[in-house]
């Protein structure tokens, strides 16, 4: 596979920011061709700045960016945005109110200076694009007469129409309402798969990131703190921050009681003293653990099992009391008090508990993730 985007040691500080830490500290990553690559993080983490640097809308203080074989940012060179082979979708659509739907989409084609297209060719391409996003019938409408969802689809068509090397998406779904967002998510994935365009996607929404991406880079305070496939990030986060960012999580503080030997799967069994009692965890990290070191354990609510009666023969079973049950249709979210600890547990609707019920919580050791500190 070839590398479509190469970002090396990118750093940038806004001139207006004064003494504040830089927007982007030191960021490096590669995006393979045809990949859907996501920058995920809370607001202010530098993800949008990074994207704007790739687009050339921001001139970074330092670092290097390569789009395919072209160096677009380096200490010596800066290729202006309009000479980069990109398409971009903005959070608030940014469709031009003074143009029709057709003219909005045709604009990038009309801007091509090297290979001028004939009017017929432009028309064919625009209509094909409008067809793809299901908006051919709105061709003559003014952009202002469209709904939010339609405007965002139009914006996507405009970004894709000149078949760019790279598609840049800056929180394209976050201005839409929940139902529309879910629908657009599916559509976005389908179109990206069909056109096989290398995509960099910026979002703060873990569902969008997990469901759309081949690869996710989680950013915090201007740096990438973890990068990997969606499943890795979800099940093997390397920090509490990442764990919480990609999904709901219980985080329990404790101290290492004993460290077992590495088994054939490369796992070590850790016994951890917590406020619930001893918790056995299968650790897959290459962390060096010493007895007595403080640590925390992350457990996803849906990986915890709930039983009505004690199952003494299994490990990691704790007695607790149901404080709260929220029926949300597809499942039930419980709050279960185990000693001083309040655990979030998500179980199928077939498992019935009532408030104040006694519950036996089982935490499979393979589903525990242990961090230092």
């Amino acid at each position: 596979m070839t590398t479509a985007i190469e970002v090396r040691n990118l750093h940038h500080r806004y001139a207006s920011a004064g003494d504040h830490p830089p927007a982007v500290g030191d960021v490096s990553f590669d995006v393979e061709e045809n990949q859907f690559f996501t920058l995920l993080g809370p607001s202010g983490c530098g993800k949008t700045t990074t994207l704007r640097c790739i687009a050339g809308l921001e001139k970074p203080d330092g670092g290097q960016i390569k789009l395919r074989d072209v160096v677009v940012v380096s200490p010596r060179a800066f290729v202006p945005t309009h000479r980069r082979d990109i398409g971009m979708v903005f959070q608030d659509y940014a469709v031009w109110p003074h143009m029709t739907v057709f003219e909005n989409v045709a604009f990038p084609l009309r801007m091509q200076s090297r290979r001028r297209l004939r009017t017929g060719a432009i028309r064919d391409k625009v209509m094909a694009m409008l067809e793809l996003i299901g908006m051919a019938q709105f061709e003559k409408r003014r952009a202002t007469q469209l709904s939010g969802g339609q405007q965002q689809r139009l914006s996507l068509a405009r970004a894709l129409v000149r078949e760019p090397e790279v598609l840049l998406l800056d929180e394209p779904l976050s201005s839409l309402d929940a139902r529309l967002r879910a629908q657009m998510r599916t559509e976005l994935r389908r179109i990206q798969r069909r056109l096989k365009v290398t995509t960099v996607f910026v979002t703060h929404d873990q569902i969008e990131a997990l469901s759309l991406s081949n690869e996710i880079a989680v950013m915090q305070d201007g740096n990438i703190v973890q990068q990997g496939r969606p499943r890795d990030l979800y099940f093997r986060p390397r920090s509490e921050f990442v764990g919480n960012l990609v999904g709901a999580a219980n985080v329990i503080a404790g101290a290492i009681d004993s460290v077992g030997d590495v088994n054939e799967n490369g796992e070590r069994r850790l016994k951890i003293q917590t406020e619930m009692g001893i918790l056995v965890c299968d650790d897959t990290s290459d962390q060096v653990w010493t007895t007595g070191a403080s640590c925390s354990v992350l457990i996803r609510p849906e990986s915890i099992l709930m039983h009505h009666s004690d199952t003494a023969d299994r490990e990691n079973v704790f007695a607790g009391r149901v404080d709260l049950g929220l029926f949300i249709g597809e499942s039930v979210e419980h709050e279960v008090a185990v000693g001083p600890i309040e655990l979030k547990v998500k179980v199928p609707t077939s498992v019935r508990f009532r408030r104040e019920d006694k519950a036996y919580i089982e935490i499979p050791s393979a589903n525990c993730v242990v961090f230092e500190g």
Binding site: L57, P80, R83, F90, H98, P108, S175
Partner: protein, 555 residues
């Protein structure tokens, strides 16, 4: 309440216009329209519409208006771009300095430029003649255009810069990521997006430039360059002989047509189509262009403009106020420096009366205008009646009617209506309220539209009657806009020359008409003293206005 608002507006707007139109076609033997013994006549209409003189006046009016418009827009757009979109140094100071001349009445600007650029002893001409052996005659169409443009720059700049600032930068970013170069972005995205605002400002300033009498009186009359506004004024107030109101009214009607034309075209093109409806969403400030090595040279050019358009005129006024008779700037003149003008000007009753009248006029007009505007705006925004558009139209009309026409109409109305206000300050009050009510309604309409109707509904649901909702909820919430609007009207009212002049009589003299009077009478030192006094007053108010709120760019 709606009925009261409609009634007052109809009285203020429709009444005078009706009189104006009939005065054009009815007269009696004494030249008075509509009074006893009047008869139908097409004489005035023939005189105005068929004489070549009219079209000569129309020609110079158009050259004057369009020329000053073009110059003012080029200057204003350049400054707006430099200040909003580039990294030129001291941007905030430049902004203040470009807007500052809005505190100087146009009449005074015209007088100071006459002092600077008159062909015999204008200071700049003295310098030009000494070095390059050329002179530039201020008493010419180019001179009038230049000075009118200087006068229009502050407001034009505010109108343009406001829309440039509120433009969403993402729209330009999107064009850039679509492969458009900087020049193409300006041509295909920025300018088209600014078009409605630019056209709106253009129409507004067009009406301003055809209606104002200040520059044409000071710079046009000495070399007999008549424009429509001064023709209307001269027929209603001839230097000798009886006024010909019928002819004046017919010219007024002609000017009204001239001002309405572009406005209707604008409304057709943009106003109603909604195609430039603002888009929702978060706004990203557009990026600033790095001027590179042009940064300092451009700043020097900009400062040069500020010196020429703002500082030089003020200095020459102060200089002229200290001279027994104005004769340019020289060592000999420096030796003649005297406070004589400053001490003698207070003699007689007219100066204290003018100051008192000016302040009274400003305060009363601003309060009346804003109260009426709030009422009208509230009805327009909130009422669900099918007839709201009538009110909307009535409130909008004065915006399209040149001030000189309003002045004439009001003059004619109170010549005929037996109300004892002809010749008093109150006739100017009525005319100015009529003139400024559309501005006030626009400002308050915007403020009330932002006020969610649930605020009023919540008060009603809490048991408050309408009266208390007004005083406890609506008014406190719109007060900032109200105060801002009142200050704007106050400023405009005090600076206005057209209406006090059209309606002038010895009892209702105000500072602007008194300055013109002294200047016209050949007392430049006294005119200069009064100008300095007036600038001090208006600049103080302007400082309060700009300092008091940053919303002043809604005009």
């Amino acid at each position: 309440m709606a009925i009261i608002a409609v009634g007052i507006l109809a009285y203020l707007v429709a009444g005078p216009l009706f009189i104006l139109l009939t005065s054009a076609v009815r007269k009696n033997d004494f030249g008075l329209p509509l009074s006893e013994g009047s008869y139908w006549t097409m004489e005035n209409v023939r005189t105005v519409f068929l004489s070549s003189e009219t079209y000569r006046v129309l020609g110079s009016t158009l050259i004057f208006a369009l020329g000053s418009l073009l110059l003012a827009f080029v200057i204003s757009l350049s400054f707006a771009w430099l200040i909003e979109r580039t990294n030129i140094p001291f941007r905030n100071w430049l902004f203040v300095l470009v807007v500052a001349p809005s505190g100087i009445p146009l009449l005074i600007t015209a007088i100071s430029w006459s002092l600077l650029l008159n062909p015999t002893n204008g200071v700049i001409n003295q310098v030009l003649e000494g070095t390059l052996h050329i002179t530039f005659n201020a008493y010419s169409l180019p001179g009038m255009i230049l000075v009118q443009a200087f006068g229009m720059v502050p407001l034009t700049f505010l109108l343009v810069t406001g829309s440039l600032r509120s433009m969403n930068g993402v729209l330009e970013d999107a064009a850039e990521t679509s492969g458009a170069s900087r020049l193409r972005i300006i041509r295909r995205i920025t300018l088209p997006l600014l078009t409605p605002a630019l056209l709106g400002a253009l129409i507004y300033e067009f009406v301003n430039s055809v209606e104002s009498v200040d520059v044409p009186l000071v710079l046009g009359l000495p070399s007999k360059i008549p424009v429509l506004s001064t023709t209307i004024y001269n027929n209603a107030h001839p230097p000798d002989g009886l006024p010909d109101y019928g002819l004046s009214g017919t010219y007024g009607f002609f000017l009204l047509l001239l001002a309405l034309g572009p406005l209707i075209a604008y409304d057709r093109a943009i106003g109603s189509s909604g195609k430039y409806a603002t888009m929702t969403g978060r706004v990203r400030r557009p990026k600033r262009v790095d001027l590179g090595r042009w940064r300092v040279p451009l700043f020097i050019v900009a400062m040069g403009y500020v010196v020429v358009s703002f500082i030089l005129p003020l200095l020459i006024l102060i200089w002229a106020s200290l001279q027994p008779y104005y004769s340019g700037v020289s060592m000999a003149a420096l030796k003649r420096t005297t406070l004589h003008g400053w001490t003698t000007v207070w003699g007689g009753a007219s100066v204290p009366l003018a100051i008192k009248n000016t302040l009274l006029l400003g305060v009363v007009v601003s309060i009346l205008t804003m109260c009426l505007s709030v009422l009208i705006a509230w009805v327009i925004v909130r009422a669900r009646s099918r007839f709201v558009w009538i009110l909307d139209l009535l409130a909008f009309m004065p915006h399209a009617i040149p001030g000189v026409v309003i002045g004439l109409s009001v003059l004619l109305l109170y010549l005929l209506v037996p109300l004892p206000i002809y010749g008093s300050i109150w006739i100017i009050v009525i005319a100015q309220v009529t003139l400024y009510v559309s501005l006030g309604t626009r400002l308050m309409g915007a403020a009330i539209a932002q006020l969610q109707v649930v605020m009023e509904e919540a008060a009603a649901a809490s048991g408050a009657p309408m009266r208390r909702i007004w005083f406890r909820v609506i008014f406190p919430l719109i007060r900032p806009s109200f105060v801002n609007g009142a200050l704007l009207v106050l400023m405009a009212s005090m600076q206005n020359l057209t209406l006090p002049l059209m309606l002038s009589s010895p009892g209702n003299v105000v500072l602007s008409s008194l300055i013109w009077d002294r200047w016209d009478y050949g007392l430049p030192d006294q005119a200069a003293v009064l100008s300095v006094v007036m600038v001090a007053i208006t600049v103080t108010f302007a400082a309060v206005l700009r300092g008091g709120s940053g919303k002043s760019d809604v005009v």
